[in-house]
Structures are given as C-alpha cells and as structure tokens.
Amino acid sequence: MTASVAFTGSPGRGFARYTYDAQATFRTLLDAMARPGTIGSVAAEPEAPAPLDPATAAIALCLFDHDTQVWLGDGIAGLAAYEYFRFHCGCPLIKSALAADFAVCLASAGMPPLAQFDAGTDEFPDGSATLVVQVPALEGGRGIRLTGPGIEREAHLSVAGVPDYFWAARRDQQAIFPRGIDVVFTCGERLVALPRSTEIEV
C-alpha cells in the first residue's frame, strides 16, 4: 500500500500517531544502522506526496526538523514535496549539497556524486551528511558484499538502480574513515542501511 496523495494545496497528513510512529521509525533506523545490509520495515505509513515512498517520508518526519539542513535531489524538489517538508518537518531546504545534514535523492533521477556532500572532519566526524536514497527495489541489483561492525561474517546488499560510480565513490570513501557519508536506501515501506563503517566489495 503506497499512500501517495496528489498535490492539492494540502501537504497531507504526516504520521497518524506522531510520537509512537516517530519512535518506531527511529528504532527501525537504529536497528538497520546497527545491522548493515539487513532490511527493516517501517511500520508507520505516513501519507507522502509523489514521488516519495512511505519509508522515505517516515525518515524525514522522524529525523528532520528546524535544526537540520536538508538538500533534495532531482525529481523530488517539486512543489508538493517542498510543501510537505516545510509543513511537517519545518526544515530549511537548501541548495548547497555541501552544507546539508541530510540529503534525499531518487536513484532513478541520477544519483549525485558522493563527494559533493560533507564527510565531516577528523575531530567531528558526526558533522557529516546522511544520504537517503530511494531506489526502485532493494533486491535484484548488483550484488555487494558487506563486512565490518554489526556483521558477523558477511552480509549482502543488492539494491537496484544504483550506478557504478556510486559504488566506486563509496569504496574510495573507506580510506578517509572515520569521515564519510552514511547511506540509507529506501523502497516502499522498507529500508536498508549502509553506514560509513561498513566495507564494501563490489
């Protein structure tokens, strides 16, 4: 069930039960980040304007607020999504990708280069950006082998629609750890995380 609403001047309803839904979404994200490659499911299904999937919208409603600078990628930066983020999250939507705390993009609209986001500093690696990438499917794409913290031996990721240059940039990023970009892939109401600590093998 995708809860998409056409833009009618109304931003649509966000979480039905704000506190509980936000907490449940946060827990799902936390678990996903702790177990890279494991697919989680967002129980709350907020209404979201096209082209946002429920999981993408839930992350936004859960994490974005007036203190987070949010950058929207191609295909999202339309009026309906703009109104949605402004109304429900109250977050500043900015044009500079480098200044973003969070970036939301569609894999189908062409992914932005990873290097254009803030990877933090060695003193403050937590100042880096988190990238939320909505993909056409979480399975059936190019197989990626994952190792690192939170993974006992190895895990596998096969999100669809992610270009090779992204994986190349993601692999290069491992050299600058603890700096780096954390990534969450979303599709429908499901999500999977790829934190910076995870090593990938294409």
Binding site: G9, S10, R13, G14, H88
Partner: protein, 154 residues
C-alpha cells in the same frame, strides 16, 4: 519581514486572530452550535509547544526575548481540500481544532458572511468587552507620580 496585510490575507489574519484570542469555551460553543458541520481530517496536531515572544521596548527599541508562551496548534483539511490552521494560546486542543476548522470554512466565500456574523463578530465583541473591563479595572488602580520641585536648584 512583515508581509503586507491586504485583501484576503488581512481578512484571514483578522478572523484567525479573533478565534485565537476568544475564550476556548466560547469557540467550542460556537462550533457546537454550528449547523451543517463539515467532514474534515487532521493534518497535524492538535499539539502544544512553546513560542518565544519577542518585543521592542516602547515598540521602537531593539528586539528582545520577552518570554515564552504556551501555544497549541492544529491544522485540518476539509473534504473539499481546503486547509485550515490555528495557533491558540494555552493547552486546549479542542479550541485549536475548532478554530482550525472554522478557519477552513471561513475561506469559502459562500459561507463567509454568515459565519462572520454568527461566530466571528460576537467573539470579537466579547474580546473587546473583556479588554475594556480589564482596562477599567487597571485604570482604577493607577497611580500618577509627580516630581516635586525641591527648590535646591537655585
């Protein structure tokens, strides 16, 4: 950064202000008394938070933070897609919700005149009456200070 208050915006600011400043019981009574209540669904809230009130000394000085105020806000959408908002003082979610639905209804030109007469005008009158009574009570306790000439300046 104030937007010009003209036409439609000014009118809406007017009734939103009246609905917010009215007593919660009065707004709820007006809502209960309304025939032909519309179907609506919540978009956000009612939820309560704090708003920092800013002021300028004498209305012209530098801006300073006067203090925080408890405010409850609510946004609703009518079946026809009209969105209504309300920010009301206090913690009464019912007040905020009723005010938000009334804000949405008042945007409909066909119903506005009737609603203005039946609900907004009486609420505005009650508010100015409360202000007047309060001003009178305050005025009765007013003390004027005079500085007497002390005669030592010669």
């Amino acid at each position: 950064m104030e937007r010009p208050r003209t036409g439609e915006t000014a009118a809406r600011q007017g009734w939103m202000s009246v609905l917010a400043k009215a007593r919660a019981d009065d707004v709820l009574a007006a809502w209960e008394g309304l025939d032909d209540k519309p179907q609506y669904r919540p978009l956000r809230g009612p939820e309560t938070g704090l708003v920092m009130i800013q002021a300028r000394a004498g209305g012209v000085g530098a801006k300073f933070n006067f203090g925080e105020m408890t405010v409850t806000r609510c946004s609703v959408e009518l079946d026809d897609g009209t969105v209504g908002h309300a920010y009301v003082p206090g913690t009464d979610g019912g007040h905020a919700e009723a005010a938000a639905v009334l804000d949405a209804l008042l945007q409909n030109g066909a119903r506005r005149a009737l609603l203005m007469d039946a609900i907004v005008s009486p609420l505005a009158a009650a508010h100015s009456e409360r202000r007047r009574t309060r001003a009178m009570k305050t005025a009765a306790t007013r003390v004027d200070f005079f500085t007497l000439v002390r005669g030592d300046s010669e």
